[in-house]
Amino acid sequence: MQMGSRPYPSPALSFHARYRCTLAVIIGALAIVSVAWAQGGVGTLLEQARDAEKINDYATATRVYEQALVLSPGNLEVLKRFGVLEQTELKFDSSISHLQQVLARESQYSEVNFFLGMSYFGKGESQLAIQSFELELENAKPHPRCRYYLALALQSTGRLQDAISQLNQTIANNPNDADALYELARMHKNASLQAIERLKTIDPDSFQLHALMGEVYAEEKRYLEAIREYRSALDKRPNAQGIHFSIGVAYWAQRQPADAQKELSLALKENPGDAMTNLYLGDIAVQEQRFQEALTYLLVAQKAHLEVPQMHVLLGNCYQALHDLENAKAELLAAIHADPGAAPPHYLLAQVYRELSNPEASARELNEYQSLLKSDADKAFESRNNSYRDSK
């Protein structure tokens, strides 16, 4: 990506695309409502209009709505449907006019505040859109996408935190709302970049900026740069809490255990009970086969009830090396329970069973280990075949 380019399309640019998707949902909802309404001449006309909209024949639909209004002037549902159609055709002013006529007669008519907000949003009048969306949310049963679009409207006015709050509520209602998750991620990223820019303006060599850039680089797995930034942060504020931990983790990720251990030991002095610091130190100690020391760290980490299957593996490793075979067995069984597809715990458990003079169980675990290895190998080969197909 070039400097200055935007990572994502702007809300204005993407509005139409989003709008059309939303319209499809709305049309479906309206279809249900209109079943009860389709009585007499107006009902028939609304059916005709809907059929025309289904095939994107908006000119016919417009004529039908106009006929319906002649037949039944001021009919709220006709006005609403007409306003929505006009919105679809990006005729925001007339859409707003028709929708406002509905609200003038019935201020909480179903979903009209939402559609009015959408038309304002499409027109670029975000404040009015926000007001309409907020009114819609006062309904007992607001339109399901209302909060999502409220968040977008809030973001467009610079109220980032309010927007994030609305998206969080959206996701609380529907954790798999991909659109909401996407926007939330975007907003957080944008918020980060904005904050960084502001920090740069305030002081390009500040503790905060270096610490933040360290985290950004670490996220991107650019560990050497991350460590450099963290060190600059420490230069500014030698007693800052948490920086040694971050440096230690970066070294750990870089497979530099000696440096990682040194930094994590400093982090441990800051907070001796920190679970993650103890876990990392325990991991390094196990790797280096310093099992008694590792156990000390891991038992502290264990108290925090971290949901990390690898912790059971590490504990199992320690207990086995220290000949506490029953505890080793328990931890390795826990590791297998937490991650049934992982092969290494079976290998370690086989060794424990062998030491427990249980050759049958040992052989069983070795078989399981080999079976999982073979499964991994098959997956890798399948992945290769997919790659090969892609390259073709």
């Binding site: 797995k221 650019r222 560990y223 050497l224 870089q254 497979r255 530099q256 255990p257 000696a258 196990v286 790797q287 280096e288 086969q289 310093r290 593996v313 490793n317 092969a343 290494p344 715990p345 079976h346 290998y347 370690l348 060794q351 062998r354 070795l366 280990y369 080999q370 290895l373 190998a377 890798a380 080969f381 992945s383 290769r384 790659s387 090969y388 892609d390 390259s391």
Partner: protein, 584 residues
């Protein structure tokens, strides 16, 4: 090179005053398991000097890198240190690649398109420099070469060559007159697929060397994109995306013909073999075989003594690392570096995996000892290939030399702290573990290479072990050992008569005032390479070996007493009658 010739000493080959003990006589067993009392000596400053150009050796390995990044381009090649003309001086044979087209069609067998792709034989002249005798010897070779194994398969007293390659291997019979004859077809040892490491070893103790030939994987020239799909990020594929393949084992029938017996004798597991080493790890008198596999569990073939092998790596604890993870096994050495009578293992692999060290427990099992040995922390960010234990300072403890360099030329894009080109690693054995002494061993240990093959031997017969290293798409390097020490040494050239003439598989136990040491005669180990078959011992300050006990592959035990140090000693296997010696 000024002064070089003065450092060379003529090989002194003595017929030993042999105290022969027949197999039926009870003697202290050479296989006794005892912790050596060799005392860790004060560190001696190591010093190695690159002398390749000065010795007149110019060899450039051609990988033929392509845009499509065929995996074969990453492998590099092997090198052999051996004395092909029996003049007492080691010669050098280097394997080369071949021209790759871009793209290379599936099913292609690359060929050597010109002299720049030839394998090369360098003959050491009396004054210590080398001359290229490739054409005269007839060893230009064919195909995209990989490895080399040296062994006198017909017991005629001249070392023969087995050269592995992608698409077919060659056996070159040494005619004894400076020329070799390609006898592959007659011997039926051409193989197929992608062959890599090979080892000459008498698997059934019939006095004739057989050969085990590893193969890497089921592979062909396919245009498979690995790595990120953006310019500059295409990477070589990992072995994970290819199927494993079984090795080939050729039994020497004794008439110039071999028979493929891998399935029959049980050395047939499909793997991704690169490095091979031999040792009798359980001291039952039968040689065993270890295979370093890339990215799948390693193999340990235990010789059951009836000509049949069983693969026991997993229950023995040498298949995977201490946490149950497989690693990218490349090179291997199987040597008693602890002086306890039990050969232990070191396997090189890729950065972040740490080189695997397995200590032999003496009961058929091994313990993963990478960190307690000091190797783990030392090698976390290194990628190793050729490896040999050798006693560079003659203090009685076998040290380590390792050729290094990653396989991926793009590795720094994803791991900035890991290098494609790396200096060699020299690790000193303190008797309690290993310490990295590369930084003190001379400027050659600062030079970043894409190291691959490595062979060990005393090139100038001065009692100090030298090395030859190949690099991928780069030159061959000769490292001369210039370490100055007051320590003594002893090199044994064993000549089998009832056993195979190279005495491959013989176990040597040497006792000095300082303690006990053990070595197995082999030309295998390392990566794709073949080292000097002579066994070398550093004796520390002892100027005499109290006893040397040899267990020959035939079962004969032989004891030599009060052998003075600082000599190259030829020891002939006692023979009952000439008729008992196996001959072709």
């Amino acid at each position: 090179m000024a002064g070089k010739a003065n450092r060379f000493r003529g090989m002194v080959a003595f017929k030993a005053a042999v105290l022969m003990v027949s197999a039926s006589v009870v003697v202290p067993s050479v296989v006794c398991q005892q912790r050596s009392t060799v005392v860790p000596a004060q560190p001696i400053q190591p010093k190695f000097t690159e002398i390749t150009s000065a010795l007149g050796v110019r060899f450039q390995y051609r990988a033929s890198h392509t845009f499509r990044k065929y995996l074969i381009e990453t492998m590099g090649s092997g090198v052999a240190l051996f004395d092909y003309d029996n003049d007492g001086r080691l010669d050098i044979f280097a394997v080369n690649g071949a021209l790759l087209n871009d793209p290379t069609p599936r099913g292609s067998i690359p060929q050597k398109a010109g002299p720049e792709y030839w394998n090369r034989l360098f003959h050491q002249k009396p004054e210590g420099t080398f001359e290229d005798v490739t054409e005269k010897a007839g060893l230009q070779g064919i195909g995209y070469g990989m490895g080399v194994a040296v062994g006198d398969y017909d017991n005629d007293g001249y070392e023969d060559l087995y050269v592995t390659a992608y698409g077919g291997n060659r056996l070159y019979h040494n005619n004894g007159n400076g020329t070799f004859t390609d006898v592959t077809d007659r011997a039926s040892v051409g193989g197929g697929g992608w062959s890599t490491g090979a080892a000459w070893v008498d698997l059934d103790n019939d006095g004739l060397l057989d050969i085990v030939v590893l193969r890497y994987m089921q592979w062909d020239f396919e245009d498979i994109w690995c790595g990120e799909r953006k310019e500059g990020s295409r990477a070589y594929c990992t072995p994970d995306v290819f199927h494993p393949i079984s090795p080939l084992v050729y039994h020497n029938d004794g008439n110039g013909h071999f028979t493929e017996v891998s399935q029959k004798i049980g050395i047939a597991q499909a793997g991704k073999g690169l490095g091979i080493a031999i040792a009798d790890y359980d001291r039952d008198g039968h040689i065993d075989v270890f295979v370093a596999n890339d990215s799948v569990p390693e193999f340990l073939y235990h010789n059951r003594g009836n000509g049949i092998f069983e693969e026991v790596a997993l229950p023995s604890g040498v298949a995977v690392d201490g946490e149950g993870r497989s690693f990218a096994g490349m090179g291997v050495d199987f040597t008693d570096y602890r002086n306890d009578g039990l050969p232990s293992l070191l396997i090189t692999d890729l950065a972040t995996q740490v080189y695997a060290v397995y200590q032999n427990n003496g009961d058929g099992s091994f313990t993963y000892e990478s960190y307690p040995s000091g190797i783990g922390r030392m090698t976390m960010t290194h990628s190793g290939w050729g490896v040999r234990f050798f006693d560079y300072d003659n203090d009685g403890w076998k040290d380590l030399l390792i050729a290094q360099g990653h396989d991926l030329d793009t590795i720094q894009l994803t791991f900035p702290n890991i290098r494609y080109r790396e200096p060699m690693l020299l690790a000193r054995n303190t008797g309690k573990g290993f310490v990295d002494v590369s930084g003190d061993a001379g400027p050659v240990f600062q030079e970043p290479w894409v190291g691959r093959g490595l062979a060990i031997g005393d090139i100038d017969n001065d009692g100090r072990m030298d090395a030859v290293v190949t690099t991928n798409d780069g030159p061959l390097h000769i490292l001369h050992n210039d370490t100055t020490s007051p320590n003594h040494w002893l090199t044994l050239k064993l000549v089998g008569h009832r056993s195979n003439r190279d005495a491959i598989g013989a176990l040597v136990k040497i006792v000095t005032a300082q303690g006990v040491q053990f070595a197995t005669v082999t030309t295998a180990s390392s990566y794709l390479s073949s080292s000097d078959k002579r066994v070398h011992f550093g004796l520390g300050l002892d100027s005499t070996a109290k006893t040397i006990e040899i267990r020959w592959p035939s079962g004969t035990r032989q004891i030599l007493e009060n052998i003075r140090a600082d000599q190259i000693l030829q020891v002939d296997e006692p023979s009952a009658t000439a008729n008992e010696r196996p001959r072709n």
